[in-house]
Subunit: 161 residues, 2 copies
Amino acid sequence: MNKSQDALVLLRQIIRSTDMQEKEISRSTGLTLPQLMTMQTLRLSAPITTGELAKEISLTQATVTSILDRLEKKELIQRERGTDDKRKVWISLTPQGVELMKGAPTTQQDLFTRRFDDIQSWEQSMVVSALERVAFMLDAQHLDAAPMLDIGQIDRPDSQE
Amino acid sequence: MNKSQDALVLLRQIIRSTDMQEKEISRSTGLTLPQLMTMQTLRLSAPITTGELAKEISLTQATVTSILDRLEKKELIQRERGTDDKRKVWISLTPQGVELMKGAPTTQQDLFTRRFDDIQSWEQSMVVSALERVAFMLDAQHLDAAPMLDIGQIDRPDSQE
DNA sequence: AGGAATACTTAGTATACTAAAACATTAGCA
DNA sequence: TGCTAATGTTTTAGTATACTAAGTATTCCT
């Protein structure tokens, strides 16, 4: 009878599953979770300034600076002083950084995509529409989130909704 | 057109939204994320042994021990040596621990529940059924104690607190 | 010139984590 | 029964990291 409870349980499963996957990626890449979060954000939003990046992942600038220091030492990201506004520093992934992020995170997404493509079209639509509902009910719509995996596309339309 | 992509974007939004909320809880409770993860697991699965707990949150026993040390010092959890098997140590939340976890994490869930209860019954069923689909497609069903039955109906008397 | 914005630095702390080992208890087996 | 192996937890020592708070340097803007 308590369907909202059911929904929450399922959501927890879903989130937990991706948590575990993230931890697995963290292990396989040798990155910590904050570093991973940084790299993922960069993959979607690079080039981006340090401050924007900090806002994006809800950390302070000082913290992000230190994280970037470590990622830079590993040659996964690069800094570039802005030309028009020289206060800004633009962060982006190095080729090695791109490579590292390309390797790891696909398995779960691939599985999802394969299985999703297997179901019928009307059911796909149902899932999408239900997820929209859930996103709204969690107040998640205003957050922009490009597809977390799928590397090929790095243009960044802010056209969310 | 690419509906699986749409689904992934929405999933990412949902996960990101709960990530942010978790960070907010972390701030408001003064707990770190691993500590929070521990507390949340305890809320669902206590009493549980240290080893089981470690497995549950994918950390090593030694790490969990140190996390428990800190939570114990804050009087949020308690240890109890097993009586039948004296090697085991059973962990559970103290009343303060329960109280702390009761306060924080509800807002988003409450919002979700309120909004979920607002939609029509058939739509609720659709959402639940879609989430089951998604959980399956992410291979999330085997995780958690939640029984993931065949698509279509899930019966889950979860004694949530 | 002055204040705001941007990024970085510094110093210090708490935490998570690793690897190895210690320790107590339990289980298996001859 | 007695010895050994396995289990469950903790300990130890050491490291890297994240994080905070305050302060610095540079650049931008009016």
